[in-house]
């Protein structure tokens, strides 16, 4: 699975959405109605899945933001 696909699966699961609703350009808060607690859960699951630490959810607004952040962290390790 690609990083995007793994993240997509986590978001689909947490927010109970369809895969088609969760694309790279999708904005969590505006399009998926995710609130801060939803984001905390998603971030926790991503941290566990990729064994990384996400310091802050600031600047993480779209799925692509998450994918880029995760890939950068994983590469740095």
């Amino acid at each position: 699975m690609t990083t995007f696909e793994q993240i997509q699966e986590i978001i689909v699961d947490q927010l109970d959405k369809e895969e088609s609703e969760v694309q790279l350009e999708t904005n969590f808060r505006d399009e998926l109605e995710a609130d801060s607690l939803d984001l905390f859960q998603i971030i926790n699951d991503i941290e566990d899945e990729f064994d990384i630490k996400i310091e802050s959810e600031e600047g993480l607004n779209t799925v692509k933001d998450l994918v880029d952040y995760v890939e950068k962290q994983v590469e740095a390790q």
């Binding site: 905390f40 859960q41 926790n44 959810e57």
Partner: protein
């Protein structure tokens, strides 16, 4: 040496009459009923008009004592778990002792934020076994409204005022306390701060502190969702109890969403996780005894029936703890 068991004899509660719905808060700050409900499950909370923590604790104690017609001269111990005492001296427990005329009781407050009731109950049952008198009174009471920054919508909408009380009794033939799992992690203490006092005196310039409650929501969320399922599992294992043998999981009523997440992580139905946060908000150390008293009042928990109950709380410190009891 004869060893004694300790059982739960009675429960009680008291909350201020004044109910404040989410709509009212919108008059004081930029928030909405929908926002608060969705994130927390809270619909209203009780806010004290003039009653301090000792007043609530005294009323809750009287409620618990009256239900079982307990002789107050036989109470040997009073512990009040609170993070919002009237004063640091005299303690709230001293005031309760005086008000209910429990002349033989040793009384003190216990400070462990939202975990206070669990810590207090754990301490009380151990002390009571070795004390001369048969009863102990364990109270969780808060006037959180005193410590909140009412200009900070991220915290002030979450909390409420109230008190709950438990009377426990030492006896030779039964024991309610099966297993426990208590923890503290002071390294993360800055995640939830309240009541800071400045160091100042003629030898030291004022270092001003607001004293307001502040909270790192994300850090608390992570802490609870990671630590509590583990703590509950641990207590069940050491209590040699299967998850489905537990009748109810009573969690500290901090946030409905977080409680649902804990239930999900334990693969348990949320029906086993009763909640009353919609009516009270987060009453810190009072939340568990208030919930337990309501469960007894509505017949879902029957004292003396042998039902197994998990009590679990978490909060500032950071502190957390779980008890497995048989009522």
């Amino acid at each position: 040496m004869k060893t004694f068991g300790v059982t739960i004899q009675s429960t009680g509660r008291y909350v201020p009459d004044n109910e404040v719905y989410n709509e009212t808060l919108t008059q004081w700050m930029d928030t909405s009923d929908e926002w608060i409900r969705k994130r927390t499950g809270i619909r209203k909370r009780h806010l004290s008009i003039g009653e301090d923590t000792s007043d609530l604790c005294i009323r809750a104690s009287q409620d618990a004592l009256s239900k079982q017609d307990i002789d107050v001269s036989q109470i040997g111990l009073i512990i009040v778990a609170t993070m919002t005492p009237d004063s640091l001296s005299p303690s709230v427990a001293s005031k309760v002792q005086s008000a209910i005329n429990a002349r033989n009781a040793v009384a003190f407050d216990l400070s462990a934020a939202c975990s206070g009731f669990i810590y207090g109950l754990s301490a009380a049952e151990k002390m009571l076994r070795h004390m001369a008198y048969p009863y102990a009174l364990v109270i969780g009471g808060e006037v959180m409204s005193k410590t909140l920054d009412w200009n900070d919508r991220s915290t002030s909408v979450l909390f409420g005022d109230g008190a709950g009380a438990l009377v426990i009794k030492k006896r030779p033939d039964a024991d309610a306390f099966i297993a426990e799992d208590l923890h503290t992690d002071g390294e993360k203490g800055e995640a939830l701060v309240s009541g800071e006092q400045a160091v100042k005196s003629p030898v030291c310039a004022a270092d001003e502190k607001s004293g307001f409650l502040t909270m790192d929501g994300r850090a608390i969320f992570n802490f609870v969702t990671k630590s509590i399922p583990k703590s509950i599992s641990h207590v069940l294992a050491s209590g040699e109890t299967e998850p489905n043998e537990v009748d109810f999981y009573l969690l500290h009523q901090a946030n409905a969403r977080i409680i649902e997440i804990v239930a999900k992580k334990l693969y348990l139905s949320k029906n086993k996780f009763p909640m009353n946060i919609e009516n009270y908000g987060n009453t810190s150390a009072a939340s568990l005894p208030i919930l337990l008293d309501e469960m007894v009042e509505n017949g879902k928990v029957v004292l003396g029936s042998g039902q197994k109950i998990v009590l679990s709380a978490f909060g500032g410190g950071l502190t957390w703890g779980t008890l497995l009891i048989k009522v």
